[in-house]
Subunit: 229 residues, 2 copies
Protein backbone atom coordinates (compact mmCIF):
# COMPACT_ATOMS: atom_id res chain seq x y z
CA UNK A 1 0.00 0.00 0.00
CA UNK A 2 1.26 3.45 -0.97
CA UNK A 3 0.10 6.81 0.35
CA UNK A 4 0.79 10.10 -1.39
CA UNK A 5 0.74 12.62 1.44
CA UNK A 6 2.26 15.77 2.85
CA UNK A 7 3.44 16.14 6.44
CA UNK A 8 1.59 19.45 6.77
CA UNK A 9 -1.70 18.26 5.22
CA UNK A 10 -4.40 17.52 7.81
CA UNK A 11 -6.37 15.18 5.50
CA UNK A 12 -3.11 13.24 4.89
CA UNK A 13 -2.42 12.96 8.62
CA UNK A 14 -6.00 11.79 9.16
CA UNK A 15 -5.52 8.89 6.74
CA UNK A 16 -2.14 7.99 8.28
CA UNK A 17 -3.87 7.79 11.68
CA UNK A 18 -6.70 5.68 10.26
CA UNK A 19 -4.21 3.28 8.66
CA UNK A 20 -2.28 3.12 11.94
CA UNK A 21 -5.44 2.18 13.84
CA UNK A 22 -6.20 -0.47 11.22
CA UNK A 23 -2.69 -1.89 11.66
CA UNK A 24 -1.59 -1.00 8.13
CA UNK A 25 1.87 0.34 7.38
CA UNK A 26 1.75 2.07 4.02
CA UNK A 27 4.77 3.24 2.12
CA UNK A 28 4.69 7.05 2.30
CA UNK A 29 5.52 9.30 -0.61
CA UNK A 30 5.68 13.01 0.16
CA UNK A 31 4.05 15.20 -2.46
CA UNK A 32 4.40 18.99 -2.64
CA UNK A 33 0.83 20.18 -3.25
CA UNK A 34 1.93 23.34 -5.07
CA UNK A 35 4.24 21.46 -7.49
CA UNK A 36 1.38 19.92 -9.51
CA UNK A 37 3.64 17.09 -10.70
CA UNK A 38 2.21 15.74 -13.99
CA UNK A 39 2.54 12.08 -12.90
CA UNK A 40 0.58 12.86 -9.75
CA UNK A 41 -2.13 14.77 -11.65
CA UNK A 42 -2.57 11.65 -13.79
CA UNK A 43 -3.60 9.80 -10.63
CA UNK A 44 -5.59 12.69 -9.16
CA UNK A 45 -6.55 15.47 -11.58
CA UNK A 46 -7.68 17.59 -8.62
CA UNK A 47 -4.07 17.62 -7.39
CA UNK A 48 -5.24 17.25 -3.78
CA UNK A 49 -3.92 15.02 -0.99
CA UNK A 50 -4.02 12.31 0.18
CA UNK A 51 -4.21 9.58 -2.45
CA UNK A 52 -3.97 5.95 -1.42
CA UNK A 53 -2.96 3.21 -3.86
CA UNK A 54 -4.75 0.20 -2.47
CA UNK A 55 -4.86 -3.54 -3.00
CA UNK A 56 -6.15 -3.36 -6.57
CA UNK A 57 -3.56 -0.81 -7.66
CA UNK A 58 -6.32 1.75 -8.08
CA UNK A 59 -5.91 5.22 -6.62
CA UNK A 60 -8.43 6.16 -3.96
CA UNK A 61 -8.57 9.92 -3.82
CA UNK A 62 -9.33 12.13 -0.85
CA UNK A 63 -9.73 11.74 2.89
CA UNK A 64 -13.50 11.18 2.85
CA UNK A 65 -13.50 8.46 0.16
CA UNK A 66 -10.47 6.75 1.75
CA UNK A 67 -12.02 6.82 5.23
CA UNK A 68 -15.26 5.25 3.98
CA UNK A 69 -13.35 2.72 1.85
CA UNK A 70 -11.29 1.60 4.84
CA UNK A 71 -14.40 1.29 6.99
CA UNK A 72 -16.18 -0.74 4.31
CA UNK A 73 -13.25 -3.09 3.66
CA UNK A 74 -11.73 -3.35 7.17
CA UNK A 75 -14.33 -2.00 9.59
CA UNK A 76 -16.23 -5.23 10.22
CA UNK A 77 -13.14 -7.18 11.40
CA UNK A 78 -12.31 -4.38 13.87
CA UNK A 79 -15.38 -5.39 15.91
CA UNK A 80 -15.70 -3.13 18.99
CA UNK A 81 -12.63 -1.12 17.94
CA UNK A 82 -14.38 -0.06 14.72
CA UNK A 83 -13.83 3.63 13.99
CA UNK A 84 -17.37 4.22 12.74
CA UNK A 85 -20.32 3.62 15.09
CA UNK A 86 -23.15 1.27 14.21
CA UNK A 87 -26.20 3.51 13.83
CA UNK A 88 -26.78 5.85 10.87
CA UNK A 89 -27.37 8.87 13.16
CA UNK A 90 -24.17 8.26 15.11
CA UNK A 91 -22.28 7.80 11.85
CA UNK A 92 -23.69 11.12 10.62
CA UNK A 93 -22.28 12.80 13.73
CA UNK A 94 -18.82 11.30 13.11
CA UNK A 95 -18.95 12.53 9.50
CA UNK A 96 -20.10 16.00 10.60
CA UNK A 97 -17.04 16.27 12.85
CA UNK A 98 -14.69 14.97 10.13
CA UNK A 99 -16.09 17.77 7.95
CA UNK A 100 -15.67 20.24 10.80
CA UNK A 101 -11.98 19.53 11.35
CA UNK A 102 -10.91 18.77 7.77
CA UNK A 103 -13.04 21.38 5.97
CA UNK A 104 -14.07 24.12 8.39
CA UNK A 105 -10.98 24.22 10.63
CA UNK A 106 -8.92 23.76 7.47
CA UNK A 107 -10.56 26.74 5.74
CA UNK A 108 -10.66 29.02 8.79
CA UNK A 109 -7.25 28.25 10.26
CA UNK A 110 -5.01 25.36 9.15
CA UNK A 111 -4.64 25.92 5.39
CA UNK A 112 -3.61 29.56 5.82
CA UNK A 113 -1.12 28.93 8.63
CA UNK A 114 0.47 25.99 6.82
CA UNK A 115 0.75 27.89 3.57
CA UNK A 116 2.16 31.05 5.14
CA UNK A 117 4.51 29.42 7.64
CA UNK A 118 5.54 26.06 6.13
CA UNK A 119 4.90 25.92 2.38
CA UNK A 120 6.16 29.43 1.55
CA UNK A 121 9.50 28.51 3.19
CA UNK A 122 9.90 25.65 0.73
CA UNK A 123 8.53 27.34 -2.40
CA UNK A 124 10.70 29.26 -4.83
CA UNK A 125 9.84 32.91 -5.47
CA UNK A 126 8.24 31.90 -8.80
CA UNK A 127 6.08 29.35 -6.97
CA UNK A 128 4.85 32.03 -4.56
CA UNK A 129 7.39 31.51 -1.78
CA UNK A 130 8.61 34.23 0.55
CA UNK A 131 7.72 35.86 3.83
CA UNK A 132 4.37 35.10 5.50
CA UNK A 133 1.55 37.57 4.90
CA UNK A 134 0.94 39.02 8.35
CA UNK A 135 -2.70 39.95 7.67
CA UNK A 136 -3.46 36.33 6.71
CA UNK A 137 -1.68 35.06 9.84
CA UNK A 138 -3.65 37.48 12.02
CA UNK A 139 -7.03 36.34 10.67
CA UNK A 140 -6.20 32.64 11.00
CA UNK A 141 -4.90 33.12 14.55
CA UNK A 142 -8.05 35.00 15.54
CA UNK A 143 -10.09 32.03 14.27
CA UNK A 144 -8.11 29.46 16.28
CA UNK A 145 -9.78 30.49 19.53
CA UNK A 146 -13.30 29.66 18.30
CA UNK A 147 -12.10 26.28 17.07
CA UNK A 148 -10.33 25.49 20.35
CA UNK A 149 -13.45 26.48 22.29
CA UNK A 150 -15.55 24.09 20.23
CA UNK A 151 -13.00 21.30 20.66
CA UNK A 152 -13.01 22.01 24.40
CA UNK A 153 -16.79 21.88 24.52
CA UNK A 154 -16.87 18.50 22.74
CA UNK A 155 -14.09 17.11 24.96
CA UNK A 156 -15.84 18.30 28.10
CA UNK A 157 -19.25 16.89 27.22
CA UNK A 158 -18.28 13.57 25.70
CA UNK A 159 -15.79 10.82 26.43
CA UNK A 160 -14.39 10.94 22.91
CA UNK A 161 -15.37 13.72 20.48
CA UNK A 162 -18.32 11.98 18.83
CA UNK A 163 -19.52 9.98 21.85
CA UNK A 164 -18.47 7.15 24.13
CA UNK A 165 -15.92 5.46 21.91
CA UNK A 166 -12.93 6.50 19.84
CA UNK A 167 -14.04 7.20 16.25
CA UNK A 168 -12.65 8.58 13.01
CA UNK A 169 -13.77 12.02 14.29
CA UNK A 170 -11.04 11.94 16.95
CA UNK A 171 -8.47 11.09 14.30
CA UNK A 172 -9.61 13.95 12.05
CA UNK A 173 -9.38 16.36 14.98
CA UNK A 174 -6.00 14.93 16.02
CA UNK A 175 -4.73 15.38 12.47
CA UNK A 176 -5.66 19.08 12.34
CA UNK A 177 -4.64 19.91 15.91
CA UNK A 178 -1.28 18.16 15.61
CA UNK A 179 -0.32 20.41 12.69
CA UNK A 180 -1.30 23.55 14.60
CA UNK A 181 0.62 22.20 17.60
CA UNK A 182 3.71 21.52 15.47
CA UNK A 183 3.56 25.18 14.44
CA UNK A 184 3.26 26.23 18.10
CA UNK A 185 -0.04 27.96 17.36
CA UNK A 186 -2.07 26.45 20.20
CA UNK A 187 -2.35 27.96 23.67
CA UNK A 188 -3.10 24.85 25.72
CA UNK A 189 -3.54 26.75 28.99
CA UNK A 190 -7.02 27.96 28.04
CA UNK A 191 -8.70 24.65 27.25
CA UNK A 192 -7.95 21.95 29.86
CA UNK A 193 -10.55 19.48 28.49
CA UNK A 194 -9.16 19.79 24.97
CA UNK A 195 -5.66 19.30 26.36
CA UNK A 196 -6.69 16.18 28.22
CA UNK A 197 -8.33 14.78 25.06
CA UNK A 198 -5.24 15.60 22.97
CA UNK A 199 -2.98 13.91 25.51
CA UNK A 200 -5.04 10.74 25.18
CA UNK A 201 -5.13 10.70 21.38
CA UNK A 202 -1.47 11.70 21.10
CA UNK A 203 -0.46 8.70 23.25
CA UNK A 204 -1.88 6.17 20.80
CA UNK A 205 0.64 4.10 18.82
CA UNK A 206 -0.98 5.32 15.58
CA UNK A 207 0.28 8.84 16.44
CA UNK A 208 3.99 7.93 16.64
CA UNK A 209 4.77 8.55 12.98
CA UNK A 210 3.21 12.01 13.10
CA UNK A 211 5.21 12.98 16.17
CA UNK A 212 8.43 12.02 14.37
CA UNK A 213 7.61 14.24 11.35
CA UNK A 214 9.90 17.17 10.69
CA UNK A 215 9.52 19.93 8.12
CA UNK A 216 12.69 21.18 6.45
CA UNK A 217 13.81 24.56 7.88
CA UNK A 218 10.90 24.61 10.34
CA UNK A 219 11.50 22.78 13.63
CA UNK A 220 8.41 21.91 15.69
CA UNK A 221 7.33 23.67 18.88
CA UNK A 222 9.49 22.30 21.76
CA UNK A 223 6.62 20.32 23.36
CA UNK A 224 5.38 18.87 20.03
CA UNK A 225 6.52 15.29 20.61
CA UNK A 226 6.05 15.23 24.41
CA UNK A 227 3.22 12.99 25.54
CA UNK A 228 3.13 14.99 28.77
CA UNK A 229 2.99 18.63 27.66
CA UNK B 1 -38.72 16.15 6.99
CA UNK B 2 -37.26 19.66 6.90
CA UNK B 3 -34.30 20.91 4.87
CA UNK B 4 -32.47 24.15 5.60
CA UNK B 5 -31.06 25.13 2.24
CA UNK B 6 -30.23 27.99 -0.09
CA UNK B 7 -31.21 28.11 -3.75
CA UNK B 8 -27.68 29.12 -4.75
CA UNK B 9 -25.88 26.50 -2.60
CA UNK B 10 -24.63 23.53 -4.62
CA UNK B 11 -24.49 21.17 -1.60
CA UNK B 12 -28.13 22.13 -0.84
CA UNK B 13 -29.21 21.42 -4.42
CA UNK B 14 -27.37 18.09 -4.27
CA UNK B 15 -29.42 17.00 -1.25
CA UNK B 16 -32.68 18.21 -2.84
CA UNK B 17 -31.88 16.04 -5.88
CA UNK B 18 -31.04 13.06 -3.66
CA UNK B 19 -34.31 13.44 -1.77
CA UNK B 20 -36.17 13.75 -5.07
CA UNK B 21 -34.65 10.51 -6.33
CA UNK B 22 -35.58 8.81 -3.05
CA UNK B 23 -39.17 10.05 -3.45
CA UNK B 24 -39.03 12.30 -0.40
CA UNK B 25 -40.65 15.73 -0.38
CA UNK B 26 -39.05 17.74 2.41
CA UNK B 27 -40.32 21.06 3.63
CA UNK B 28 -37.75 23.62 2.46
CA UNK B 29 -36.58 26.51 4.59
CA UNK B 30 -34.32 29.02 2.88
CA UNK B 31 -31.40 30.16 4.98
CA UNK B 32 -29.13 33.11 4.15
CA UNK B 33 -25.63 31.74 4.79
CA UNK B 34 -24.15 35.15 5.59
CA UNK B 35 -26.85 35.98 8.16
CA UNK B 36 -25.53 33.52 10.79
CA UNK B 37 -28.97 33.34 12.43
CA UNK B 38 -28.47 32.31 16.10
CA UNK B 39 -31.27 29.68 15.99
CA UNK B 40 -29.62 28.10 12.94
CA UNK B 41 -26.16 28.14 14.55
CA UNK B 42 -27.68 26.20 17.45
CA UNK B 43 -28.46 23.41 14.99
CA UNK B 44 -25.21 23.73 13.03
CA UNK B 45 -22.42 25.68 14.75
CA UNK B 46 -20.47 25.65 11.46
CA UNK B 47 -23.26 27.75 9.90
CA UNK B 48 -23.01 25.78 6.65
CA UNK B 49 -25.76 24.37 4.43
CA UNK B 50 -27.60 22.10 4.02
CA UNK B 51 -28.99 20.74 7.28
CA UNK B 52 -31.68 18.07 7.21
CA UNK B 53 -34.00 17.46 10.14
CA UNK B 54 -34.82 13.80 9.78
CA UNK B 55 -37.15 11.24 11.27
CA UNK B 56 -35.71 11.42 14.77
CA UNK B 57 -35.84 15.22 14.91
CA UNK B 58 -32.04 15.30 14.92
CA UNK B 59 -30.19 17.64 12.58
CA UNK B 60 -27.98 15.91 10.04
CA UNK B 61 -25.41 18.42 8.94
CA UNK B 62 -23.67 18.71 5.59
CA UNK B 63 -24.01 17.20 2.13
CA UNK B 64 -21.58 14.32 2.69
CA UNK B 65 -23.12 13.11 5.99
CA UNK B 66 -26.67 13.50 4.60
CA UNK B 67 -25.82 11.63 1.40
CA UNK B 68 -24.33 8.70 3.34
CA UNK B 69 -27.21 8.73 5.84
CA UNK B 70 -29.80 8.55 3.06
CA UNK B 71 -27.90 5.71 1.39
CA UNK B 72 -27.66 3.80 4.67
CA UNK B 73 -31.31 4.26 5.60
CA UNK B 74 -32.96 4.17 2.15
CA UNK B 75 -30.39 2.76 -0.28
CA UNK B 76 -31.20 -0.93 0.16
CA UNK B 77 -34.89 -0.54 -0.78
CA UNK B 78 -33.93 1.33 -3.97
CA UNK B 79 -32.51 -1.94 -5.34
CA UNK B 80 -31.12 -1.37 -8.85
CA UNK B 81 -31.92 2.35 -8.68
CA UNK B 82 -29.59 2.76 -5.70
CA UNK B 83 -27.48 5.91 -6.02
CA UNK B 84 -24.32 4.30 -4.60
CA UNK B 85 -22.79 1.31 -6.40
CA UNK B 86 -22.17 -1.99 -4.66
CA UNK B 87 -18.38 -2.35 -4.57
CA UNK B 88 -16.10 -0.32 -2.27
CA UNK B 89 -13.89 0.81 -5.19
CA UNK B 90 -16.87 2.00 -7.23
CA UNK B 91 -18.23 3.78 -4.17
CA UNK B 92 -14.85 5.49 -3.72
CA UNK B 93 -15.11 6.79 -7.29
CA UNK B 94 -18.60 8.21 -6.64
CA UNK B 95 -17.32 9.91 -3.49
CA UNK B 96 -14.28 11.31 -5.32
CA UNK B 97 -16.60 12.94 -7.85
CA UNK B 98 -18.93 14.29 -5.16
CA UNK B 99 -15.81 15.89 -3.65
CA UNK B 100 -14.77 17.18 -7.07
CA UNK B 101 -18.04 18.97 -7.78
CA UNK B 102 -18.96 20.08 -4.25
CA UNK B 103 -15.49 20.96 -2.98
CA UNK B 104 -13.13 21.58 -5.91
CA UNK B 105 -15.58 23.11 -8.41
CA UNK B 106 -17.09 24.99 -5.46
CA UNK B 107 -13.73 26.42 -4.41
CA UNK B 108 -12.45 27.17 -7.92
CA UNK B 109 -15.65 28.51 -9.47
CA UNK B 110 -19.10 28.26 -7.89
CA UNK B 111 -18.61 29.88 -4.47
CA UNK B 112 -17.02 33.00 -5.92
CA UNK B 113 -19.56 33.49 -8.71
CA UNK B 114 -22.52 32.94 -6.36
CA UNK B 115 -21.13 35.31 -3.78
CA UNK B 116 -20.23 38.06 -6.23
CA UNK B 117 -23.32 37.82 -8.46
CA UNK B 118 -26.14 36.54 -6.23
CA UNK B 119 -25.39 37.00 -2.53
CA UNK B 120 -23.91 40.50 -2.79
CA UNK B 121 -27.15 41.64 -4.44
CA UNK B 122 -29.09 40.56 -1.37
CA UNK B 123 -26.66 41.65 1.33
CA UNK B 124 -26.72 45.06 2.96
CA UNK B 125 -23.60 47.22 2.70
CA UNK B 126 -22.76 46.30 6.32
CA UNK B 127 -23.03 42.62 5.44
CA UNK B 128 -20.58 43.06 2.56
CA UNK B 129 -23.09 43.65 -0.23
CA UNK B 130 -22.44 45.75 -3.30
CA UNK B 131 -21.02 45.45 -6.78
CA UNK B 132 -19.21 42.27 -7.83
CA UNK B 133 -15.42 42.30 -7.64
CA UNK B 134 -14.34 42.01 -11.26
CA UNK B 135 -10.97 40.42 -10.46
CA UNK B 136 -12.72 37.63 -8.54
CA UNK B 137 -15.19 37.11 -11.40
CA UNK B 138 -12.35 36.93 -13.92
CA UNK B 139 -10.47 34.24 -11.98
CA UNK B 140 -13.58 32.10 -11.43
CA UNK B 141 -14.56 32.38 -15.10
CA UNK B 142 -11.08 31.36 -16.22
CA UNK B 143 -11.43 28.25 -14.02
CA UNK B 144 -14.79 27.23 -15.49
CA UNK B 145 -13.21 26.00 -18.70
CA UNK B 146 -11.03 23.41 -16.95
CA UNK B 147 -14.05 22.15 -15.00
CA UNK B 148 -16.21 21.91 -18.12
CA UNK B 149 -13.44 20.04 -19.93
CA UNK B 150 -13.26 17.50 -17.12
CA UNK B 151 -17.05 17.12 -17.07
CA UNK B 152 -16.95 16.65 -20.85
CA UNK B 153 -14.24 14.01 -20.54
CA UNK B 154 -16.25 12.06 -17.96
CA UNK B 155 -19.45 12.36 -19.99
CA UNK B 156 -17.70 11.20 -23.15
CA UNK B 157 -16.01 8.17 -21.59
CA UNK B 158 -18.78 6.88 -19.37
CA UNK B 159 -22.52 6.41 -19.61
CA UNK B 160 -23.11 8.34 -16.40
CA UNK B 161 -20.31 10.28 -14.71
CA UNK B 162 -19.10 7.53 -12.35
CA UNK B 163 -19.83 4.56 -14.61
CA UNK B 164 -22.72 2.68 -16.16
CA UNK B 165 -25.52 3.75 -13.87
CA UNK B 166 -26.83 7.00 -12.45
CA UNK B 167 -25.19 7.68 -9.08
CA UNK B 168 -24.98 10.42 -6.48
CA UNK B 169 -21.98 11.76 -8.47
CA UNK B 170 -24.33 12.83 -11.28
CA UNK B 171 -26.53 14.62 -8.78
CA UNK B 172 -23.55 16.45 -7.24
CA UNK B 173 -22.42 17.54 -10.70
CA UNK B 174 -25.98 18.51 -11.67
CA UNK B 175 -26.27 20.59 -8.52
CA UNK B 176 -23.12 22.59 -9.25
CA UNK B 177 -23.68 22.93 -13.01
CA UNK B 178 -27.30 24.01 -12.60
CA UNK B 179 -26.22 26.97 -10.47
CA UNK B 180 -23.61 28.04 -13.03
CA UNK B 181 -26.23 27.59 -15.76
CA UNK B 182 -28.75 29.72 -13.82
CA UNK B 183 -26.10 32.45 -13.79
CA UNK B 184 -25.55 32.04 -17.55
CA UNK B 185 -21.89 31.26 -16.97
CA UNK B 186 -21.68 28.11 -19.08
CA UNK B 187 -20.81 28.08 -22.77
CA UNK B 188 -22.55 24.87 -23.86
CA UNK B 189 -21.29 25.06 -27.45
CA UNK B 190 -17.81 23.87 -26.49
CA UNK B 191 -18.68 20.62 -24.72
CA UNK B 192 -21.31 18.54 -26.58
CA UNK B 193 -20.87 15.46 -24.36
CA UNK B 194 -21.32 17.49 -21.20
CA UNK B 195 -24.39 19.11 -22.76
CA UNK B 196 -25.89 15.74 -23.62
CA UNK B 197 -25.28 14.50 -20.09
CA UNK B 198 -26.81 17.68 -18.59
CA UNK B 199 -29.86 17.33 -20.81
CA UNK B 200 -30.41 13.82 -19.48
CA UNK B 201 -29.99 14.72 -15.81
CA UNK B 202 -32.01 17.91 -16.17
CA UNK B 203 -34.96 15.93 -17.55
CA UNK B 204 -35.33 13.85 -14.41
CA UNK B 205 -38.37 14.59 -12.23
CA UNK B 206 -36.04 15.22 -9.27
CA UNK B 207 -34.73 18.30 -11.14
CA UNK B 208 -38.11 20.05 -11.45
CA UNK B 209 -37.90 21.95 -8.17
CA UNK B 210 -34.47 23.33 -9.03
CA UNK B 211 -35.61 24.54 -12.44
CA UNK B 212 -38.44 26.48 -10.79
CA UNK B 213 -36.07 28.27 -8.37
CA UNK B 214 -35.76 32.01 -8.74
CA UNK B 215 -33.37 34.37 -6.96
CA UNK B 216 -34.71 37.78 -5.99
CA UNK B 217 -33.46 40.52 -8.37
CA UNK B 218 -31.52 37.99 -10.43
CA UNK B 219 -33.52 36.25 -13.19
CA UNK B 220 -32.00 33.05 -14.63
CA UNK B 221 -30.37 32.73 -18.04
CA UNK B 222 -33.17 32.46 -20.67
CA UNK B 223 -32.51 28.74 -21.38
CA UNK B 224 -32.22 27.78 -17.69
CA UNK B 225 -35.50 25.86 -17.43
CA UNK B 226 -35.56 24.53 -21.00
CA UNK B 227 -35.10 20.79 -21.23
CA UNK B 228 -34.02 21.29 -24.83
CA UNK B 229 -31.39 24.03 -24.71
Amino acid sequence: MLLFHNTMSAPSRFVRLLLGEYGEEPELQEELPWARRPEFLQINPAGTLPVMIGEAGTGIVGAFPISEYLDETRGPIMRNRRLMPGSPLERAEVRRLIDWFLVKTEGDVTRALVRERAFKLQMSAAEGGGAPDSAVLRTARANIRQHMRYLGWLAQNRNWLAGDTLTAADLAAGAAISILDYLGEIDWSGEPSARDWYQRIKSRPSFRGLLADRVRRLPPAPHYSDLDF
